[in-house]
């Protein structure tokens, strides 16, 4: 029979989900985090098995585009932690996402669940630094000092969020600043986790495009690394979670999405300073002083804008 969302309310959805028996989740989060939320979900819904796959945002996009382009149903039920707003918007417009409708949706501000794109985590770009080599977090200005030459780690500008970050840098600190940063010969990596490890090892001193979760993970191992929100303030991007409407397990997808919205789910996703939660008072979640964090306004970044940023960035760093 044609899969679809059960019509008879939340209990019906849960029952249908249990009948579906499993849910496929793609997540760009750290593997441990994925494992943690998987086991928490599975112990709550014992009849639903989670097939989780770690996959970075770009790959999620490539893979899905291929499948949908070939008119095949998506092989994923729930995306967890994709930051590419524009792309998700496109999918939402084509009706690929179900609206969240679980009991936990009640406490959520509608702007954080618009178009079925649930803000699972808010990630500010943080300044990572090596605590053995630096007494305190460097400011953006510090990065231009000679001792930072070759010792700065940056993410490449492939993800849209980073394009926005660099663009913001340009508007906030000036074109010249970014040029000087490029002149510092930074190490370019594809993932903050990798930059973080290079900072922890001492290969790099600092990374302004850091991600709190990666830092916390290394700290737990005893690595000499910490992070700070720069005084100049920082950009933040949202990692969205969605439930697919035309996948193999649409009901289970909704149940999983609801779990993401639950205080328990939010606790896991944002634990240990790894992200900012939409819900207030989530224990362990990162808290950013007021006014120091700006969510990226995706309306300011249409495709051609992103392309021009990309060309500009590659001219400097590529």
């Amino acid at each position: 029979s044609q899969p679809g969302v059960a019509a008879n309310g939340w209990d019906g959805i849960v029952a249908a989900a249990e009948k579906e028996g499993s849910v496929t989740v793609w997540s760009s989060s750290d593997q441990k985090l994925i494992n943690k939320i998987t086991s928490a979900f599975e112990s709550k819904y014992r009849k639903i098995k989670v097939n989780s796959l770690k996959m970075d945002s770009t790959t999620q996009q490539t893979t899905l585009d291929q499948q949908l382009g070939a008119n095949r149903p998506p092989s994923v039920d729930t995306i967890l932690g994709n930051s590419n707003y524009a792309w998700l918007q496109g999918l939402a417009q084509k009706g690929h996402f179900e609206k969240p409708q679980g009991p936990n949706n009640a406490g959520w501000d509608a702007k954080y669940t618009a178009d079925g794109m649930v803000a699972a985590t808010i990630n500010p770009f943080v300044m990572m630094y090596n605590t053995n080599k630096l007494k305190s977090a460097p400011t953006y200005a510090d990065l231009l000092k000679p001792e930072f030459k070759g010792k700065i780690g940056l993410n490449n500008a492939d993800p849209a969020a980073l394009k926005a970050f660099y663009d913001n840098w340009r508007t906030q600190l000036g074109e010249d600043y970014v040029k000087q940063i490029a002149g510092q010969n930074p190490q370019i990596q594809s993932a903050s986790a990798v930059v973080a490890q290079n900072v922890a090892s001492g290969q790099l001193l600092a990374g302004p495009t850091g991600n709190a979760a990666s830092v916390e993970l290394l700290r737990a191992q005893g690595a000499p690394i910490d992070f700070a929100i720069p005084d100049e303030g920082t950009m933040a991007y949202v990692l969205y979670a969605t439930a697919f409407a035309r996948s193999a397990h649409p009901n289970a997808a909704l149940v999983f999405l609801d779990f993401v919205q639950s205080p328990e789910g939010q606790g896991i996703l944002n634990t240990n300073n790894s992200g900012v939660s939409v819900l207030p008072d989530v224990e362990g979640a990162l808290r950013v002083p007021d006014g120091k964090m700006t969510l990226i306004d995706w309306d300011k970044y249409p495709t051609d804008k992103l392309q021009s940023i990309d060309a500009w960035w590659k001219g400097l760093f590529g």
Binding site: T62, G150, A191, Q197, L218
Partner: protein, 566 residues
Amino acid sequence: MTTDAPAARLDTSRAPRPLWRRVKPKSLVHLLGIVMIAGLVYPLVMLLVRASGDVRASWDAITAIPDLWPSLLNTVWLALGCVIVAVILGVLLAMCVANLPRRWYNTAQLLCTLPLFMPPIAAVSGWVFVASSAVGYGNVLLRTLLGIESDSGPFNVYSLPWIVFITALYLVSYVFLFVSTALRESDATLELSARVFGSSWFMTQIRVVLPSIRPALYYSIGIALLLGLGQFTAPLLLGATARVDVITTEMYRLTSASPPNYDAATLLSVPLLAVAMIIVAVQRRSLGNLRRYTSVSRGAMRARTPRRWLIVPPIVYVVLAIVPPTASLILVSLSPYWTGSVDFSNMSLRSYQEVLATPQYVDSITTTLEIVLLSVIGGIVLSTAVALYITRSRSFVARLLEFTINLPIAMPGIVIGLGILISYGLGFLDLYGSQTVFVIAYIYLYMIFGTRMIVSGLTRLPDSYDHAARVAGAGAVSTFLRIKLPLLRNSMTSAGMLMLVLMSHEFAASMILRTSFLQVLSTKLFDAFNYGIYPDVAALAVIMVAISAICAVVILSTRGGRNLEI
């Protein structure tokens, strides 16, 4: 050879034989040969078809690449750099080994081929841990030993010289193989007579020894150039930071973009294809007069005046190629996180447990083993069939097959990956995303190595073995099963193991063919290197090295380094 025409009766005016009797088994074999050729040519044709499809759009996409011209230039410079370094070192090594005392010869020969068993992706990641400017183990060690006060250097792995160095380091083994085989087969008295006629040792090497193995030199220069042009792993892993892009990484980027632009990628591969063809053609020409260089006797090892100290360069080479990357991978894999300092108290096997508890990693290992095993089996069967065919038949089809089966060597893995993707992957068979397409690609890429080994095994078998069996009453099939197959067993085993090693290392084509769900060890290692935790990366790489090491032991112990002669 016998015709298998049935013994006819006296009556020649009988009705014509039924059709199935008239189709001779021979023509069936030729037909299979043609099918095989078609299968080999199909991806290349598809590349050209696709490249010539929407040339305008592709051209625009290519010219839109910001650093295209620097990338092309880089490709040329890197290739030339690799060739120069690899050929000089390879030739020097081969000459050292040739002048060793006889009882050391085999060991030294084996030693110098060991770097071939180092998985490229693991090697490059290993070198990152060795030569990262601030906390690379090698840098830290050197700074401590030399008392350098700086907190970085002297090496910086993310640089053009290091990309050349790492790539060339493993090309040396190839050059060594060709040159040292040629030296061994050349007549030692050529050198000795030059000495007697008044030429010093050094001048003799220059004037007599090297020129007399000119074909092998040309051949290895050609191969090194091709491999250098197609280099992918080091530029991909180090290039972003070193700001060094090459044509293969640009191709990869085109195919991994969203949406992937296969047309542009294929168009970009055309120059590589063309250069490969030119090199092959030039090689064929310069090898034309091979007969001049065939020596009457192979006296080789016997009479050269041995010099023991010449064992030092081979040892230095092997130690350099294997120990630093492997050791640093092991150190990192045992540490909780990567630092330049070694703290034994913190070490544990945690990363290994982690890797083995992560389904995606375990999946990639089992997927690799599955794909590689299937490919090896397919590769051996096909290699044996092709080898038998091209050694037995002098037909045009056989010679054409012999030529086509050699083509994949000339082309970069990424080009072949792309060709396979658009032919078998996205073509009428629509195999993209299946293990089968990997199996096809791996067989396509590495069957030639198996075929060569089996051919050389076959040519070592005199016809008289077969003939004796036939005359003794064994039919053609029985002769094949009881005489030929058992005698080929060793060749087939080592062919299989060699293919196993090469396939399990395959990276470039796999990068093109992989999907999120179907990853092999090398591509998973690449992802881990880019997105993952270094100790886990290191543990995964160590596992990969260990698998290769096991294969190396099997190959090298079955029949010594001769198994590697290609």
